[in-house]
């Protein structure tokens, strides 16, 4: 019967490689799951889009519904369509 040579270091490298691979994959999955569970990419777009669509529609940084009343066309200007004096 052949006695195993305990001083042989042939398998050490592969063991460490597997450990590193598991850690790398684990970290990868952790980050990927965090992005998915927190919906990071959705938050990056959907949140700001509310204000952005408001700016596109009304010209003010507010959601479209609430910012409509603040559209620059609503600003009082020196017009005299009813014959009033300019202020």
């Amino acid at each position: 019967m052949k006695t195993p040579n305990l001083r042989a270091q042939g398998g050490q490298m592969i063991t460490e490689a597997i450990l590193i691979m598991v850690m790398t994959l684990g970290f990868t999955m952790l980050v990927a799951n965090f992005f998915k569970s927190e919906e990071m990419f959705r938050k990056l777009l959907t949140g700001p889009w509310a204000s952005l669509s408001g700016m596109l529609q009304n010209g003010v940084w507010a959601p479209a519904g609430t910012g409509a009343a603040a559209h620059p066309n609503s600003h009082g200007r020196h017009i005299a369509i009813e014959g009033e004096l300019a202020r």
């Binding site: 490298m13 990419f41 596109l56």
Partner: protein
């Protein structure tokens, strides 16, 4: 070959590459969307200019605005962008009083309606996409990107039409004829409302 470590970094590389490409795609679609929003805004402005200008009657003003809108939306440069699923705009523009379309405009108009113009619904479906490993930009949505919608318009008013001017002038003449005059003959004496031919000067 156990000591070969060349593949060890591959997982990290793929992961980082997908993440970087994901962010790069995000920046690309966002900047492209803003560019197309600007183009769409200008299309409504060009249509609103056609609507604003005086014409024979109101229907013609609206038709001219609609014609300009369709001409620009179907321009060979823009048509592929509005038809390939990335961006969408209405086939027919909204022309006229926009306080009837966006209720908030009416609230802020303070009795003076300055929201006559041309508008359209702009949808940036390109913003809805999926990044492998990291999820979608629309969460659990239907993936159509319909939530990335904005109403865009240009409001530069509307000049009175020839028809409206003639009606106004004829009504004014009738009002003059009905004025009560003391110490003299009224304007209705010896005049007729039927034989009155108003002369339009500069539209009105």
């Amino acid at each position: 070959m156990i000591r070969n470590e060349r593949g060890l970094i591959t997982v990290d590389f793929i992961f980082a590459m997908v993440l970087i490409l994901g962010f790069a795609s995000l920046m690309f679609v966002l900047t492209f969307t803003l560019s197309m929003a600007s183009v769409t805004q200008y299309i409504t402005f060009a249509a609103a200019r056609n609507y604003e200008t005086a014409h024979i009657n109101r229907a013609t003003q609206e038709a001219r605005a609609s014609l300009k809108y369709k001409e620009l939306v179907n321009n060979p440069v823009f048509k592929p962008l509005y038809n390939n699923g990335w961006f969408k705009v209405d086939a027919e523009p909204n022309v006229g009083d926009h306080t009837k379309i966006i209720p908030g405009f009416d609230a802020g108009s303070d009795g003076v309606n300055k929201f006559w113009g041309v508008g359209t619904n702009f949808t940036a479906a390109v913003l809805a996409f999926n990044i492998p490993f990291f999820g979608s930009t629309v969460g659990d949505g239907d993936g159509s990107g319909s939530q990335f919608k904005a109403y865009m318009g240009s409001y530069i008013g509307r000049e009175p039409t020839t028809e409206e001017c003639l009606e106004f002038t004829a009504a004014r003449w009738n009002a003059i004829r009905n004025l009560s005059v003391q110490g003299g003959a009224s304007y209705s004496t010896g005049t007729s409302s039927s034989g009155y031919f108003p002369q339009a000067d500069d539209g009105c």
